[in-house]
Amino acid sequence: MARVSTLVDPLGLAPRATRAGERALDAAAWMAVGALGRAVASPQAAKAVDVVLQSPLPERATRAVLRGPLVDVAVDAAIRHRVVERVAEALLVRRVVERVADRLMAGPELDDLIDAALVSPRVSVLFNRVLESDGMVRLIDQVVDSRLVDASVDRLLASDDLWVVVEEIASSPAVTAAVTQQSAGLVDQVAGEVGERSRRADARLERVARRILHLRARPIDDSPAVTDGDVP
């Protein structure tokens, strides 16, 4: 018994015709994409886009879309089909977040962004407003009054690492030298002050004694030799 395909297409032209049709569609698609690309890249298209963007049309269209049921439908669909969860899971599985973070940390963009933010006077004004706001004061008061601070201080004082750090700092040569220098400076300052006052007292007492004994004043007037200039 002859097969049905042999009866319908005895020359076997159907597959060839299918392939030819597919090729024709591909060629048409390529041509359409090329034409579209050229059209988009043309200055006329740019002008057209500018005209459209400068017109109230995009705003009206956006407003219409937001007022219409499209957004609600899209959101409902996204929630119903767990789109957000799936996207988040895909991001986590493919370690997209880590890669983005690594890229950000390795690249100079983050540093530039932080530098620009720190230099910006607007950020400074913003920080000042935040710090001076009543909400920030209330927040700080709540944090200070809460048990969090007490517990943190208790834990800090109970930890051995703190005392190791304190001992390290206290025994460091720089700190020791600074304390020694400060103490020597204080002693010098006290000695200078006492010396200056005692020398004034010397002169005063001597004047009184010479006046009582009717002696002439000393030939050299001894003003205090130890002055503030001697004090470091």
């Binding site: 010396g195 005692s198 001597e206």
Partner: protein, 176 residues
């Protein structure tokens, strides 16, 4: 009336040591010497007396504590006390003589920024330092009247300075 001694401005004796600490004599042309008066010197002496007595008290306490655990006859105890007195005297004399004849400054003088030198600004020798200490004692005996000479002498010298031929001058911090 002047109490300035003619020998005060005389050159150093033939046997005078030429070593100086800060050479105030050579600086005299550039900057006049500033003689230190009674109050400053009294404060310096008070600091020195405090140091001497503090060390002596601590040493005596240690010795007394040590001796308290031993059985010592009374006669020996008296001898120990006499030895302690002699040691105290030696310590006091040595304190002043050594400091005056080396740096010219006792710790009290250093704090008050004054220096004891010969009349020509040189560091004094131990013998002269000892004479000065004897003079210091003599000046203190008549109710410290010997120190009142400082008030009327042109170079602010006391009896001990006149006996030893010394002066007490300013020693600014830079020159120490």
């Amino acid at each position: 009336m002047s109490f300035a001694s003619p020998r005060a401005a005389a050159p150093a004796r033939p046997g005078e040591r030429t070593r100086t600490v800060a050479s105030p004599a050579t600086d005299q042309a550039a900057e006049p010497l500033r003689y230190v008066g009674l109050v400053t010197r009294a404060l310096a002496f008070g600091l020195d007396a405090a140091i001497i007595d503090l060390v002596a008290i601590v040493a005596a306490a240690v010795v007394a504590l040590t001796l308290s655990v031993l059985e010592i006859p009374d006669a020996l105890r008296t001898v120990a006390i006499a030895c302690g007195g002699v040691l105290y005297l030696v310590w006091t004399v040595g304190y002043f003589v050594v400091f005056w004849s080396t740096t010219g400054q006792t710790p009290g003088s250093r704090f008050m920024r004054l220096r004891v030198t010969s009349a020509t600004g040189e560091t004094i020798r131990p013998r002269r330092a000892f004479v000065r200490f004897v003079g210091l004692t003599l000046a203190a005996l008549p109710l410290f009247a010997g120190f009142l000479w400082i008030l009327v002498d042109d170079r602010r010298r006391g009896l001990h300075d006149l006996l030893a031929g010394t002066i007490a001058i300013d020693a600014p911090r830079e020159a120490r």
